[in-house]
Each structure stands twice: as structure tokens, then as C-alpha cells.
């Protein structure tokens, strides 16, 4: 059994609180990603699981055992480091066999096991190479083999893919997922890359400023972010601030920065004159050119009968981004961006007048302190 339980874990370095009151359960055999910007405490949290860092307060359980005061070399965890930390004066095979040697395994046995692990990560044939001669991707594989060789209860990965280029990273993501399925170990993977987290994770834990903000399955945290930080961190979006001018049942009218009202879902306690920020995700908006000349001048909010919302404006710039095109639309001096698939036949050029439309119920609404407004 190798579930991990963190209870009220805190760590400070001098005056700096790196991790504050983190409680988290990682299920047996789960791949959990700790996601957050640099300095959010995700690596420190992982280092406390590995035993390389001692918590200032709180408890770490691995399986049933309280391991808070156990040093790293007594814990059945193994870590893959960001810079891989391969021993430069040992061969690839010696690197992989190192942990087994420390566990007192016989020479032939550990060599066999190390070779087997190298084969698993497709690095057979490199046994007698020096790690310094390997490429980043190869070092990554050797580091992974070295950690897997000791058959740990928990495998910890500290941004191991962040030094690889995009293509190699995506390849390694798939491979990590395969290895996770094959070895059935509990994995904790730290990353600042949302795509990586969404690709790999069974569940994602999002951290900010030393605190664990939200934990959930990838689609859950994406669809239902707990606060504005999560919404902002998980993907590109447009934030529009405004003041509630009128309330009509479940919906309110927000007087926005671009001098037009938009209809937003509000909670029952929302009062008029409250400041709110809404998130208009590019994937929720459709862009269409306006051909009718009578509509040209207005930046009017267009509310139709079926709960849709929209604004119109002028395309300021168009950026080709490979599989999609990003249009930046100027609406009364404020910019919104929206994405269009390249296969979408509607040609939109800079300077065109367009209409942006969305479903009002897709809008996420946040209070000024970042918390979510919902019923």
C-alpha cells in the first residue's frame, strides 16, 4: 500500500513561508500532478514527501506509516530530479544500479536488474557510456530507470520534462503514462506546465503562494475552477471587469470596461453596484463577420432570446498559431481575443467588423477577491 497522506504540512525557510497548511491525499497507484507557477511551493511539498526536506509542522504518511522524521535514505520513495542529477563519474549502468547497491543487492543481480530497467526505457546499449555524453532526453530516461530500479512505493518527479524541447516532452509524457500504467506505482509529478498536467494526471493539485488551492480531476478543475487564480493559470482567457447595474433573477447585467452591458449569471446574494470580473474563454466564443452595414457603428451588447450574449468590435490583429488563428478584437478600446480553427472557412481579416457571441451560462464570474460567484 502506498497512498500518501499530507496533514497540515507547512515549511518555512527563515522568514519565507514556502508551504502553508497543505493537506492532501494521494491515492494508491494514482498519478497526481502538483501544478503551479514557480515559487508556489510545489517542489518543496514534494521534497517533504521524499524526505529531502523536513516539514516545519504537519505530518507525512506513506502507506500507514508516519514518515515525517524519516530521512530520505530510509524512505521507500524515489525522485527524478529536474536536472536529472546523474552521477557524472559513474557509467549509465552504475547510475542505474546505484540504488540497488545501496540496498545491498549482489553485483550480478543488480547489473541484471539495471540492464532490464535500461531496456525498459529504451536505453539498452548505453550501459558503459558516461552520463555526460548523453542528450537531455537520454539523461531523462536513465534518471527514470535509476529511480524505477529500486522499485519504490512512490515515484516523485520534480519537473523532469521542463528541460526538454516541446516534441521530446510530449513523447516523454506518453511514455511516462505508459510506465505509470505498467508499474502501477503512486506517482507525484510536479510541473508548471498545464498541458503536461492535463496529459498525465489522474488528478491535479493546483498550488499558489504555498497553498493548495484546488484538487480534482483534470476536466473538473478546468470546467469548475475554484477561483480566479485557477481559471487564469489553467488556460488563456479574457478577464472583463465591471459593475452590476441590474439584476434579473439568475442573471445580472454587468456594465463593463468596454462601455456596454453584458448579461452574466449571478448568485442570489449578489447586489447591484457590486464589482465583478468575468472570464470569457476564447473557446466559448464564436466569431462572425458583420456584413449588415446598419450594425457597424455600435459596440452594443446583443442579447437575444435564447440566453446568448455577445459584443461587436473591430479585428485589431490576427495571429496565425499553427492549428488555430487568434484574433484580437477591439471593443471600445478594450481587447478580447478569440480563437478560430484554421479549417474554419470564414475569412476574417484585420480591420473587419465582427461579432463575438457566447452562451451566457458558460461565463465564469469572480468577486474582486478572486473567489467564484455561483449558486
Amino acid at each position: 500500500m502506498s497512498e500518501i497522506e499530507l496533514q497540515n504540512l507547512s515549511k518555512s525557510f527563515g522568514d519565507i513561508d514556502a508551504v502553508t497548511d497543505v493537506s492532501l491525499s494521494v491515492r494508491d497507484g494514482e498519478l497526481l500532478c502538483l501544478l503551479g507557477p514557480s515559487g508556489c511551493g510545489k517542489s518543496t511539498t514534494m521534497r517533504m514527501i521524499s524526505g529531502l526536506e523536513t516539514p516545519s509542522s504537519g505530518t507525512v504518511y506513506i502507506g500507514e506509516a508516519d514518515v515525517t522524521d524519516q530521512p530520505a535514505y530510509d524512505r521507500d520513495t524515489s525522485m527524478v530530479f529536474q536536472n536529472w542529477a546523474l552521477f557524472p563519474y559513474k557509467t549509465v549502468l552504475e547510475n542505474v544500479a546505484f540504488g540497488l547497491k545501496m540496498r545491498g543487492m549482489g553485483k550480478q543481480q543488480r547489473r541484471d536488474r539495471a540492464s532490464e530497467m535500461l531496456e525498459r526505457v529504451h536505453m539498452d546499449g548505453y550501459e558503459s557510456h558516461s552520463p555526460t555524453d548523453l542528450s537531455g532526453g537520454q539523461k531523462q530516461r536513465v534518471a527514470l530507470a535509476r529511480s524505477l530500479a529500486v522499485d519504490p512505493d512512490v515515484l516523485l518527479l520534480d519537473e523532469p520534462l521542463s528541460n526538454l524541447d516541446k516534441r521530446l516532452r510530449e513523447e516523454m509524457e506518453i511514455e511516462l503514462k505508459d510506465i505509470h500504467e505498467e508499474f502501477q506505482k503512486t506517482f507525484v509529478h510536479v510541473t508548471h506546465n498545464q498541458d503536461e498536467a492535463f496529459t498525465l494526471a489522474d488528478r491535479i493539485g493546483i498550488m499558489n503562494e504555498g497553498r493548495l488551492v484546488q484538487v480534482g480531476e483534470p476536466n473538473e478543475v478546468y470546467r469548475d475552477p475554484k477561483n480566479k487564480f485557477v481559471e487564469e493559470f489553467l488556460g488563456d482567457t479574457n478577464f472583463v471587469s465591471g459593475t452590476v447595474s441590474d439584476i434579473d433573477g439568475q442573471y445580472g447585467y454587468l456594465m463593463t470596461e468596454f462601455d456596454s452591458e453584458i448579461r452574466v449569471p449571478v448568485a442570489s446574494e449578489t447586489q447591484p453596484e457590486t464589482s465583478l470580473t468575468v472570464s470569457l474563454r476564447p473557446e466559448f466564443m464564436q466569431i462572425a463577420p458583420i456584413t449588415d452595414s446598419s450594425n457597424r457603428a455600435s459596440h452594443q451588447t446583443r442579447a437575444d432570446g435564447n440566453g446568448g450574449g455577445g459584443v461587436s468590435g473591430t479585428v485589431e490583429s490576427t495571429i496565425y498559431r499553427g492549428s488555430s488563428i487568434r484574433h484580437v478584437v477591439d471593443i471600445g478600446g478594450e481587447q478580447l481575443f478569440v480563437e478560430q480553427g484554421v479549417t474554419d472557412q470564414t475569412a476574417i481579416d484585420e480591420g473587419d467588423t465582427v461579432e463575438l457571441r457566447w452562451d451566457v451560462d458558460d461565463i465564469l464570474v469572480f468577486r474582486p477577491d478572486g473567489t467564484r460567484v455561483r449558486d
Binding site: Y73, M79, F87, Y89, K90, T91, M102, R110
Partner: protein, 306 residues
């Protein structure tokens, strides 16, 4: 199985200079240094060798224009001089072992310390370098004398019943000599240690290596070049020790430097003095080659490879 047979300690020491030698421009740049070395080292040394092959003379330091190997025969046959050579090497070996082991500990502690602690540890090493050799050697006399500070402390806590004889004798000489060479050895090791990634030690511990094992398996191979430099500095200096044996030693603490000085300035027997010096120089040269060879073998392969 070693990583790369070419990666010896020597190679690693030379690697910063590689690619710079061979070009004429670099030779030109080095010419002032080469000229300087020729004038102040090579030429005087050749003169010294020439004197060592001169006949000894009663009235003069040596008999000019003569040629004999008598002084070398005398050096190699005299039991007194052999004893002096042996003493020099014993002092060199003991002082070097003590210095390098202490320096590794001290450098490691300094590496791991931070803030004020680190500054204090570094400052303490550099501070003695600001004092003249004679004073920092002689300061051990009041400390180690029978009625000195160390004995007073030992008597006060009843660790000893009577004062220990620490100076003037060999114990004092070793202490003084270690104290003299320690800063150089420590700084040589520390400079290499600061380039080691702490993450490697963490990786070793994470894989189950205890603190001691992670040091021997990961840190030691990395700092071998520093240890080699520290060993050579300590050894060369301690074999040629002068001030520590002169100030802290008893009459029997007689290394070759004291003997050379006496033959040169008291007995005016330059052929013996120079012959002894030349023999010591050759022995030192061989010793340093042996040190490089031995430490080089351990350099890449200290943790007896899988």
C-alpha cells in the same frame, strides 16, 4: 569499469589549459613568464647542480672548476643524512594526511554552511594567511608549553596529572606544520567543492545512501582534483618544512631544510648542501608523480564500480 580511462585527475587539472597551448600567440603571451622562470629558477638551479658536483674546499664554500661525485656518495652513504631525509618524508606524510583529512571536513562544513556561519568559517581560514609565518608558528610555543594554555586547561579538567611535553618535540612540529599548510589545502578543496551540485548528494540519499556513503560515492570522486592539489601543496611544503621544526622542534627534529641551511651558512660546505638539495628534489619529483598516479586512479573510480 571506469567511466572514461582518459579522465584522470591530471587531465582534469589540465583541461582548462587545453586548446590554448600549441598556438604561437599563446607562446608569445607566455614568453615573459618563460623568461622569468628561466632567469630565477632554471639558471640558478643549473648553477646549484653544478656546485653539487664540485669538490669540497677548506677555505671556500666550494672549489671552483673541479668535478666530482663525492658529495653525492657522501649524501647517500651517510646514515645521519639518510636519517634526515627519512625524517623529512615522515613529517611530510603525517602532516599531509592530517591536513588533507581535516581540510576535507572543514571545506565540506563550509560548503554546507550559510550566512554568517559560512563567512566565519572562510574568514578563519584566510585570517592566518595575513600573519607572518614566524609569528603564527611561534604562537604555538606559549600555547603548547608545559606551563602553557593547553596544559593548564588539561590540568584544570584533570585529564592529565602532570603537564604533557608538547613543545619542543615532534608533536609540536606536526601541529605547527599542519597549521601552516591547512589554509592552502582547505581553499584548494573548497574551490572544487563549490562546483559540485548538491542535488547529486540528494539523489544518492534518495536512492538509499547514508550520509557517509553519499559522501564517499558522490562527493569524493568529484573533489579528487582539489584533494590532489591540496596533497601536493601540503606534501611539498611539509617535506621542505623549515620554520615549524626550527621553532617548535627538539634537537632530534631535523629535516633537510635545517641541515641544508647549516651546511650552507655554518659549515660553508656548499657541495654537500646542494647535493642534498638535488637528491631531495629528485625524490620529491618522484613522490609527486606517485601522488598523481595514486590519486588519479581513485579519481574516477573511488566507489569500486558495479
Amino acid at each position: 569499469m571506469s567511466v572514461d580511462p582518459r579522465t584522470t585527475v591530471l587531465d582534469r587539472l589540465w583541461s582548462p589549459f587545453e586548446g590554448q597551448s600549441g598556438s604561437r600567440r599563446s607562446l608569445l603571451l607566455m614568453s615573459p613568464l618563460i623568461l622569468f622562470e628561466l632567469l630565477v629558477f632554471v639558471v640558478p638551479f643549473l648553477l646549484l647542480v653544478r656546485i653539487s658536483f664540485s669538490e669540497q674546499s677548506q677555505g671556500l664554500p666550494y672549489a671552483e672548476g673541479t668535478f666530482t661525485i663525492a658529495s653525492y656518495v657522501q649524501v647517500l652513504q651517510s646514515e645521519l643524512l639518510q636519517g634526515i631525509i627519512a625524517y623529512s618524508f615522515k613529517l611530510g606524510i603525517i602532516a599531509t594526511l592530517l591536513t588533507v583529512v581535516l581540510a576535507v571536513f572543514y571545506a565540506y562544513a563550509t560548503w554546507r554552511a550559510s550566512g554568517v556561519q559560512k563567512s566565519a568559517l572562510l574568514f578563519s581560514v584566510v585570517l592566518p594567511l595575513l600573519t607572518t609565518l614566524v609569528i603564527k608558528t611561534y604562537v604555538w610555543v606559549p600555547l603548547l608549553a608545559p606551563n602553557g594554555t593547553a596544559n593548564s586547561l588539561l590540568l584544570a579538567v584533570s585529564l592529565v596529572q602532570a603537564p604533557l611535553q608538547m613543545v619542543p618535540n615532534t608533536f609540536g612540529v606536526v601541529i605547527g606544520q599542519v597549521y601552516i599548510v591547512f589554509p592552502y589545502a582547505m581553499l584548494a578543496i573548497y574551490s572544487v567543492l563549490t562546483t559540485v551540485e548538491w542535488e547529486l548528494v540528494e539523489a544518492a540519499r534518495d536512492l538509499g545512501a547514508s550520509r557517509t556513503r553519499s559522501f564517499f560515492a558522490v562527493v569524493l570522486p568529484e573533489i579528487m582534483p582539489g584533494i590532489t592539489v591540496a596533497t601536493v601543496i601540503s606534501f611539498a611544503w611539509s617535506v621542505g618544512a623549515y620554520s615549524a621544526p626550527a621553532l617548535l622542534g627538539a634537537g632530534s627534529d631535523r629535516p633537510f631544510a635545517l641541515e641544508v641551511q647549516e651546511q650552507m651558512l655554518v659549515n660553508f660546505n656548499w657541495p654537500i648542501a646542494t647535493a642534498l638539495s638535488t637528491v631531495m628534489l629528485v625524490l620529491m619529483f618522484v613522490s609527486i608523480l606517485v601522488i598523481y598516479a595514486v590519486l588519479g586512479r581513485f579519481g574516477g573510480d573511488v566507489a569500486n564500480a558495479t
